[in-house]
């Protein structure tokens, strides 16, 4: 057995999983990765539109916002399948994270507009909330008249070049607010740099950027709650995506080593190679198990057990994906060290996702600290 094994009574999860495989057959992930990388782009809008058509964006948005109203199992299966197919558009940020922020925001016209556009792929709402070390770092907001003025800088913004709107965390008079800022608003500067996984991450600066008051999506404690929830759910989906990468990398490597002959033998018949492949497979199995456990624990409700399960899943899947793909490169020999070989792209994607929203060491320490406080 392999992959995510979740209860799937009506077969909906299997269907979703297969739809990604079909998509990937028509739009191979590695080719799209290389094309976007060569273009210096942070999002391929064509691919994104097709992902919207497939119904994959805003999967968990409630039905009243036009979403599919699906749950964590569906999103996890989708993310895992995308990881496995190396479809590297930033779904975790633009669909999961943004979607969770919108789901936690106040009802209103602006939220409805953003949600509708997110689902359709026409709105690229890029979350903008992190400081240099990755923690939340609200920009400064001043409310005056019927407008809000923003100043400050956030880091690690995905798809900032392609964004139509930024979902900005700001602080106004001792209170957190969440608001959307048009990407073309005055005073917005995007400083984008290429990433390992063939996309771009940007620092976004707001220099007296003024937006209308009705752009505020949430305020007060609900902002922190929505942000925490967005972080947790996105971590879980990154874990699922990395579990997919891990599973695929071991499959590719087993196939390559079965094919490759040296000294008159398939290299997969060497005992050392066999045991290494087994260890890689075992790591992938544990990653899959951790993701399934987290999905199910979260489904039982929020709280400490769910939080711990998510921390564990992201840490486990991150370590697994990164170390499996590294070993996979090694087992591909010199071929693995070339840019032509897809296995390197899997490794790069794994490293990038692993560095997103907390690396394993940090997540493990959080796990232990929270568990011990509770004990």
């Amino acid at each position: 057995m392999t992959g995510l094994i979740l209860d799937d009574e009506d077969g909906g999860l299997a269907l979703l999983h297969d739809s990604v495989a079909g998509f990937a057959a028509r739009h191979p992930g590695p080719a799209a990765f290389r094309k976007r990388r060569a273009a210096g782009a942070d999002l391929d809008r064509d691919t994104w539109a097709k992902m919207a058509e497939a119904g994959w964006l805003g999967l968990m948005l409630p039905e009243e916002l036009g979403g599919a109203g699906l749950g964590l199992p569906e999103q996890a299966v989708l993310s895992e399948a995308l990881g496995r197919a190396l479809v590297t558009e930033p779904l975790a940020q633009l669909s999961v994270f943004a979607g969770m922020l919108l789901a936690g925001a106040n009802a209103g016209t602006e939220r409805a507009r953003l949600a509708e556009g997110l689902i359709a792929g026409s709105v690229i709402a890029a979350p903008a909330w992190q400081g240099r070390k990755g923690a939340p770092a609200p920009v400064e907001a001043r409310v005056s008249g019927d407008g809000i003025t923003l100043s400050g800088r956030v880091e690690f913004v995905s798809a900032a070049q392609s964004a139509t709107d930024f979902l900005v965390l700001a602080r106004s008079g001792g209170e957190d607010i969440l608001l959307s800022v048009p990407a073309d608003a005055a005073g917005v500067t995007v400083d984008a740099h290429p990433t390992l996984d063939g996309t771009m991450l940007a620092a976004v600066s707001f220099d007296g950027t003024r937006v209308a008051a009705d752009r505020q999506l949430a305020g007060g404690n609900s902002v922190g709650t929505a942000l925490d929830r967005a972080i947790a759910v996105t971590r879980l989906m990154l874990a699922a995506e990395m579990a997919g990468i891990a599973t695929r990398a071991i499959e590719e490597t087993a196939a390559y080593t079965i094919e490759r002959v040296q000294f008159g033998k398939r290299i997969a018949s060497f005992q050392v190679v066999q045991h290494r492949l087994v260890d890689m497979w075992a790591d992938a199995e544990f990653a899959n198990a951790a993701v399934v456990h987290a999905v199910e624990t979260c489904a039982e409700g929020q709280g400490l057990p769910a939080d711990l399960a998510v921390l564990a899943a992201k840490a486990r899947a991150g370590d697994a994906a990164v170390s499996i793909t590294r070993r996979a490169i090694h087992l591909h020999g010199a071929m693995g060290f070339t840019d032509d070989c897809d296995i390197g792209l899997f490794m790069k994607r794994a490293v990038a996702l692993n560095a997103t929203l907390g690396q394993p060491e940090e997540l493990r320490l959080q796990f232990v600290a929270r568990e011990r406080v509770a004990a």
Binding site: I5, S269, Q274, L277, W281, A289, A312, L365
Partner: protein, 387 residues
């Protein structure tokens, strides 16, 4: 007569609660969380008999034979609670090995004679499989059983026979033929009375200077042909087949779980939790254990749904045994200069058997099929890698 009830009809939670409350009332406190991994029969006889009386001694035997008739899912609950409550391991080869083998392949006469004596504790069984030159390569075993009228005459030697020195019956794999092309053929399962003339047992002290395994020598031991289980020469398949869902328990997290509790006790007492270097190492171990639980659940779910385990379940045994080792190694790091003492370490919350666990943790990576053998099984059976 033992209580009869359809345990499988209960929810896991209800069954767990019933089991737990009975154990808490009936397990003698001095037997909880015993230092010794493998107590001999006399040390745990009272507990054995109480379980037998209650009908709870043999969880998976059908109720008609005096067992609880648990399905795999309930059996997991039983084993989990057993570990959590610190029940001592009982000499369980009769319950776990001979019993199931007889129930599946035995004659009525064999069942009528042997099964009640297992439940009563009159027969204490051990498992005669490994030989000096047939360990990982079990199929190369040489202990010979030669037909002589209504009997077989057995000659040879077994080794690593757990608790043979306090058993009176041995389930023996013996070679009855070496003609076939495959060494797996020509092996027969025999039930042998260890009090018969010609059987000699020599205990082998282990790294902990305790005895839990032995050599067993057979010198012209006469075994009635009626004591063959199944067909002559077909014993290999029998012995393999009886290992069903129980293979999951080789990877049950109970040993590392116990060890990490002791590590936490020691670390707390010695102030190690104030050392972020330790905390980082502990965090890795803690999460490994947590995720082992998730992985175990992955396989348990298959069993609960009525499915069968594949060869992939070996992954639990590998991970579990290696984690157990790493936890006990960290205990020695925390023990610092004290990591030289043979005896248990003292803490405000009680003893910590650091050295006992450290030494014990060397075993599970070797026994029950070494981790190298397991990796080979996974390479072939799961990844389909070529020879």
């Amino acid at each position: 007569m033992a209580e009869q009830q359809d345990w499988n009809a209960l929810s896991d939670a209800d069954f767990r609660a019933i089991f737990r409350s009975w154990v808490e009332e009936n397990l003698p406190p001095e037997l909880r969380f015993m230092r010794k991994q493998r107590p001999v029969f006399e040390e745990v006889a009272e507990w054995y008999h109480r379980l037998a009386e209650k009908g709870w001694l043999s969880p998976v035997w059908p109720q008609e034979y005096g067992g609880m008739g648990l399905d795999a899912g309930k059996h997991i609950v039983y084993v989990e609670e057993w570990a959590r409550l610190g029940c001592p391991r009982i000499p369980d080869h009769g319950i776990g090995l001979t019993g199931p083998l007889l129930i599946r392949y035995g004659t009525d006469a064999q069942n009528d004679f042997f099964l009640p004596k297992i439940l009563s504790g009159e027969h204490v069984w051990c498992q005669g499989y490994s030989e000096p030159n047939a360990g990982s390569d079990l199929a190369s075993l040489k202990t010979a059983a030669v037909r002589d009228g209504d009997d077989f005459i057995v000659n040879g030697q077994k080794i690593w026979t757990t608790l043979a020195h306090c058993a009176n019956w041995i389930l023996l794999l013996a070679r009855t033929s070496s003609d076939g092309p495959k060494r797996q053929n020509g092996i027969t399962v025999l039930l042998v009375d260890m009090t018969d003339p010609g059987v000699t047992v020599r205990p082998i002290p282990n790294l902990r200077q305790e005895t839990d395994f032995c050599e067993v020598f057979f010198d012209n031991v006469r075994v009635p042909a009626a004591n063959v289980v199944g067909e002559v020469d077909q014993g290999w398949a029998l012995a393999k087949a009886v290992l069903g869902h129980e293979r999951i328990f080789l990877g049950a997290p109970s040993r590392p779980e116990y060890a990490i509790k002791r590590l936490e006790r020691l670390a707390k007492d010695r102030g190690a939790f104030d050392d972020p270097g330790f905390v980082a190492r502990y965090a890795k171990l803690r999460l490994d254990l947590y995720d082992l639980g998730s992985a175990f659940e992955r396989f348990a779910r298959v069993l609960r749904a009525g499915g069968d385990l594949g060869p992939d379940v070996s992954v639990l045994k590998i991970f579990c045994s290696e984690l157990y080792q790493r936890i006990t190694e960290e205990m020695l790091t925390v023990a610092g200069e004290e990591a030289r003492f043979w005896d248990d370490l003292q803490t405000a919350e009680g003893e910590v058997d650091a050295m006992n666990l450290y030494l014990d943790s060397r075993a599970p990576a070797i026994f029950g099929g070494s981790n190298e053998i397991q990796r080979g099984v996974l390479a072939k059976g799961v990844l389909g890698l070529p020879s």
